[in-house]
């Protein structure tokens, strides 16, 4: 049997671990640049604060209802996620880290009662060790485990653990699940299914497999079989190495000049190269792009993008020079750019570097030494301690994060303080 363990309102829960007084209070977390709401506590949901709502539209409501607002603090969430996942890994034999706040687990217990107590134990262990509340859905397939998890969250009387085991219970729950809520069913598939008279998960489970396959490809068919309890989607223990690495963000304010844009680009590239080196890979092509804000109808619009190719490398200064020089001719003075980014392509494992005749091995060694020193310094004294000079002009593009909580677990100067007074 499989289980899907999912952290409840994860970002909010992370904030509450270090601000226990916010328990039972309405809390929301905002997206990058404090744009819209990406996480809500149950109390905020009950107040009718919609997910994804742009903050400027509901500012009055938030103030009136005394909602506690946080900018997103990804270093904190990443660390807390790792703690939760490690606790899973220490407790059950196989774990697939599915997202920052969800994991599929393979349970060893043989019967429902044992599974139930295994998951209850796990749930209280994660809560005690990390402070994060989780819900667990148990079922024979991933798709059903998702449904079971959803049920566990919506029905507090389950105590956070729910098994979608016997057929009777399964049909009842699937009948109460809208077809769009299913894992892998997108908005457009949902519309198409509804047109064919399929509105609940139960309808889809009972649909004709060959018809589904014809209309919705093999992916749709998998969903149907999974709903019937036949596992089609395996547990992935080691996620495959990424084939592309993207680093792109909206600026804190619109940018009209080249220098700050080049600086933002260099900073995003620095993050991408960091990821590249961590997965021990080299890149030999990159796409560099920038565009204006499409939603500002009155602004003149411009989008530029350029694809660059070169021999495999992970050397940041060279990549930065290429990216900045590559995009420069496409930049238009006076446009109000909102976003820029880089996409590293054609990744190969570092071990497969094929030396060119004209590659200077000594040069490559030196480049590697420079990158290693930079990484060591930044690991020890914090990100961006040692940086390319062109990435330092941060004023205009830096993210707006006016309400960010401290780096409780990631920054020595910001760890929690306990009063002994």
């Amino acid at each position: 049997m499989l289980a899907l363990a999912d952290c409840n309102n994860f970002y909010v829960s992370c904030e509450r671990v270090f601000r226990p007084e916010l328990e039972n209070q309405p809390v929301v977390v905002l997206s990058n640049n404090d744009g819209c709401i990406i996480a809500r506590s149950n109390e905020s949901k009950a107040l009718g604060i919609p997910m994804g709502a742009p903050v400027f539209k509901i500012e009055d409501q938030l103030r009136r209802q005394r909602v506690n607002i946080f900018s997103s603090n990804y270093p904190l969430y990443g660390d807390m996620s790792d703690r939760v996942m490690s606790t899973f890994e220490a407790s059950v034999p196989h774990v697939e880290r599915y997202s920052i706040d969800e994991a599929f687990l393979e349970l060893s217990a043989r019967n429902e009662a044992e599974r139930f107590s295994e998951c209850r134990d796990l749930r209280s262990r994660v809560r005690r060790h990390t402070g994060i509340p989780i819900s667990i859905g148990i079922a024979p397939t991933k798709t059903l485990a998702k449904v079971a998890n959803h049920h566990a969250k919506r029905h507090p009387d389950c105590g956070g653990v729910f098994e979608l085991g016997d057929a009777g219970k399964r049909d009842e729950v699937l009948g109460a699940t809208e077809v769009e809520e299913l894992w892998g069913i997108g908005r457009r598939t949902g519309i198409k299914l509804r047109r064919a008279g399929i509105t609940t998960a139960l309808d889809l489970q009972r649909a004709d497999v060959s018809w589904v396959r014809r209309e919705f490809t093999v992916n749709g068919m998998r969903t149907v079989l999974e709903l019937r309890g036949e596992p089609c989607i395996e547990l992935e223990m080691a996620p495959p190495a990424k084939q592309t690495i993207c680093s792109a963000k909206s600026f804190g304010q619109l940018i009209q000049e080249w220098d700050p844009l080049a600086s933002a680009l260099t900073a995003y590239l620095t993050q991408a190269v960091d990821k590249l080196r961590r997965q021990q890979a080299l890149t030999s092509a990159m796409q560099v792009f920038a565009h204006t804000n499409r939603h500002r109808r009155d602004d003149p619009q411009h989008a530029c993008s350029v694809l660059l190719e070169f021999s495999p490398t992970d050397y940041l200064p060279e990549l930065a020079r290429r990216a900045v020089q590559g995009l420069r001719p496409h930049f238009r003075e006076g446009m109000r750019y909102q976003k820029a980014g880089v996409l590293l392509l054609e990744l190969i494992p570092r071990s497969q570097r094929v030396g060119h005749l004209w590659d200077d091995p000594e040069q490559l060694e030196k480049q590697d030494a420079v990158m290693s020193v930079m990484e060591r310094v930044n690991r020890r004294w914090g990100r961006r301690t040692l940086n390319l000079a062109s990435a330092q002009d941060t004023q205009q593009w830096c993210m707006r994060q006016n309400r960010r909580s401290p780096g409780y677990t990631t920054c020595w100067s910001e760890i929690p303080v306990a009063h002994a007074g």
């Binding site: 402070g131 929690p416 303080v417 002994a420």
Partner: protein
């Protein structure tokens, strides 16, 4: 320097042993470089072991361990001084007489947890400070157990 709770090293003037310490968590293992060594192989080569790692000694459960800064002087006799760094393990059983991080009315506090026939108390380790009785209606919970204090001498 390190002190464990209860204070062991503090009263005693003698030092029983000194170990070389690894100061950071990321161990740099001596790997062989790509160039072929021309001289004699090192006689220590077959005996390479990683240097002592302080993390290993101080942190039993990395995923449940947090660092907390102490502020104030109410725990001085437990070896905790103002600005000391506390290592806090949330997974450890919150037993009677442990030094704990508790949350009281929304604030983190470090005290000794004492439960006796008169009730539950957060006890200060400094005669100048009062003990705090925990009432049924107190907004109180135990956040974690303090396992070590790191104090700069």
């Amino acid at each position: 320097m390190l002190k464990s709770i209860p204070k062991k090293l503090k009263t005693d003037g003698s030092i029983s042993a000194i170990y070389g310490m690894e100061e950071s968590g990321s161990l740099e293992l001596p790997l062989f470089s790509a160039r072929v060594a021309a001289g004699f192989p090192s006689p220590a080569e077959d005996h390479l072991e990683s240097r002592l790692d302080l993390n290993q000694h101080l942190i039993r459960n990395p995923s449940s361990t947090f660092f907390v800064r102490a502020a104030g002087e109410s725990m001085m006799e437990a070896g905790i001084y103002d600005r000391d760094l506390l290592i806090v393990d949330r997974s450890i059983e919150k037993r009677n007489r442990r030094v704990v991080i508790a949350t009281l009315n929304g604030e983190f506090t470090v005290k000794r947890l004492v439960q006796d026939e008169e009730g539950i108390f957060l006890v200060a380790e400094n005669p100048e400070f009062d003990n705090i009785p925990i009432r049924v209606d107190s907004d109180f919970s135990i956040w974690g157990v303090v396992t070590y204090v790191i104090h700069e001498v």
